[in-house]
Symmetry: C2
Subunit: 430 residues, 2 copies
Amino acid sequence: MHNPTAHKRIVIIGGGFGGLTVARSLQEADVTLIDRTNHHLFQPLLYQVATAALSPGDIAWPFRTLFRSQPNVRVMMEEVLSVDRKARVVRLQEGQIPFDILIVAPGSRHAYFGHDEWESWAPGLKTMTDAVQLREKMLLAFEEADRSRGTAIAQEYLTFVIVGGGPTGVELAGSLAEIGKRAMSKDFPTLPPEALSIILVEAGPRILSGFDPELSAKAAQALVRMGVTIKLNSPVRAIENDTVRVGEESIPSRNIIWAAGNRASSLLKSLSAPQDAYGRIKVRADLTIPDDPWIFVIGDAAHCLGSDRKPLPGVAPVAIQQGRYVANLIVQRLVPERRAPFAYKDRGMLATIGRAQAIAQFSSFHISGLLAWLIWCFVHIFFLIGLRNRARVMLEWIWYYVTFKPGAALLFPREGPPLETPSPRDDSQT
Amino acid sequence: MHNPTAHKRIVIIGGGFGGLTVARSLQEADVTLIDRTNHHLFQPLLYQVATAALSPGDIAWPFRTLFRSQPNVRVMMEEVLSVDRKARVVRLQEGQIPFDILIVAPGSRHAYFGHDEWESWAPGLKTMTDAVQLREKMLLAFEEADRSRGTAIAQEYLTFVIVGGGPTGVELAGSLAEIGKRAMSKDFPTLPPEALSIILVEAGPRILSGFDPELSAKAAQALVRMGVTIKLNSPVRAIENDTVRVGEESIPSRNIIWAAGNRASSLLKSLSAPQDAYGRIKVRADLTIPDDPWIFVIGDAAHCLGSDRKPLPGVAPVAIQQGRYVANLIVQRLVPERRAPFAYKDRGMLATIGRAQAIAQFSSFHISGLLAWLIWCFVHIFFLIGLRNRARVMLEWIWYYVTFKPGAALLFPREGPPLETPSPRDDSQT
């Protein structure tokens, strides 16, 4: 059993909401934060980057900037391969980092229920890379539809199929409907707005099943009003060659987006601790793994039971509260027997559908429509880190609310043109 | 000889300052604007995207949004391969576009004086793609230097060599010095600030040779104060294996940036009109090519003599004034014999070195330092298109001026992680 005294080496894997909260709460300790990127991502607004409403810089913060005033935190941009519990080290692609206390918060990726081959046809939305690629695909789709006007191909480009009726799927469907039907119809006058088809496919009997039925019904009505087609009780049978098979129906689409399943990072296997069906570690009441009171697993990676004995959802508030709980245990150096079990305080749930459309559920108190949307805006602005990003995002939202002009609809090739090929470019130089 | 009557098909190649000005000035005509990207780029601020001070969305505007209120302009995101003067068509990778009046404004790329193999070691800065790649390279360089602390490799990563003492080179050197020495030294406390080496290499006897000698001397002093090493009369002999050879000296650097030469788009060859050493078309007094009074060449692509009989520089004001001139000829349907020659009004030159450091030259009136910098800021904010971008950029500049925190220092892999590889990521989900 490890029981920390002073100067323990604390290693945090993953700088999401959970890992970041732990690092920021440990002002004294010797902390190493490892992430494969150099920035914290405000994932709840990622779909707005994907739909070109926000720029990547609006919802992400370089770790090194975040920790400027915290010299006790060392940031490493590295890929963690595994955790060696015996040797008490985290193995990287190059070298390894020893730890006395480990916080494992690697998050999750989207999962395809054992059909990984679907990913190439239906990418998901988890990382900034996903978002930027999805945005490019969406913007190019309209250009391609314009090129192939009137053909069946054009219709495939103008058909968006979102698989999964959870918050991400609903937010994507809603903002695609808005940006597509209104903004794009202005930018592509040659494309008939009615040709745009946005289909939300959900395996279960209703969307936003985490919410109260009457609220998810309101959300569904709002989506339909916005022109989204919702297919309930429609598990996906197959996805291939730009076609989704749902029941007996085949939907051809060049824009299939996966927002259905999640799977915890495969890094967790190396902890050799019990996992659930989604690969999450079944943590104990103090968020540690069996027989190892100083290895914590938090956030999407943790299978942690709530007061209703159901596993807590993979949302930011859970990860943040778990991060605070773990940081507190570490600061107080609490030995296992003196630890109170982690208890999640549910402050309510929010989901946005579109402009002036959202639902909010605070225990018994339910709202929908404009008021819920204003609360949603306020909460998300509030939780953004830093004055700059709050100002930028607010500016973007007000701007978009008024003009319907998405702020970040840029396309540029990944590689610059080779030196001697024709380059009709905007190169008036400095 | 073509002489336009009503309903002529006007085709514009390139949506830079020149091409955009023509399109915006033709409210009636049937206009097709072809660009390889979907956006106009405010190239004078591109170096700020490269140094992570601004986001791409801050200095670029999708054409389709710009022309929402101008249904007479058709936008095509296409690569132009050649112009067929006989057939009066522009050839694309797929298909061709017929024209009666053609405006050729494809801009220029950086050129390596016949050493194209240098490009792989010393990329240039012309397009948004260039800027984003340069930014990623710069940000990664500090991460790599941190990993290889104390080794010779680390020093190579902390050495920035900018080839070319023109405005772009000076702006890059200045902002790299600032962001490097101040911001980055805060983000990478383990890296000694003095290890950062920024070297500006100029073949000629002084930097900013377009300016009055006493002003370029002031700029040089400012750069030196900021810690930039300036090497004058130092033509580059070779660039290979992350090493620049200048005279007898070899400088190892993982960050070699090319800001020296330009070459007009090779598309111009197909016009089979006289070109100068830089590939620019030697246009006539009305900016047309010989024997073809309805094919205009403007901007960086045009070799156009100024009042001093020297070719006009490749700067935005020249392209914009040429665009207005051409649009006016077209609107008035002026036959060649009734055209007044194009005359460039030089409203002065500005170059910025860094925070509160710039030089300005208005004919006989010269300024430097804070006042010149304020003028520079004002002018650039003023010429940005649209309220939104002005507000965003101003916000960024004020923010950066106060905090020294660059706004857009994000790194994310180009490809998302494969589904089952370890992914220590910040994926707290929605």
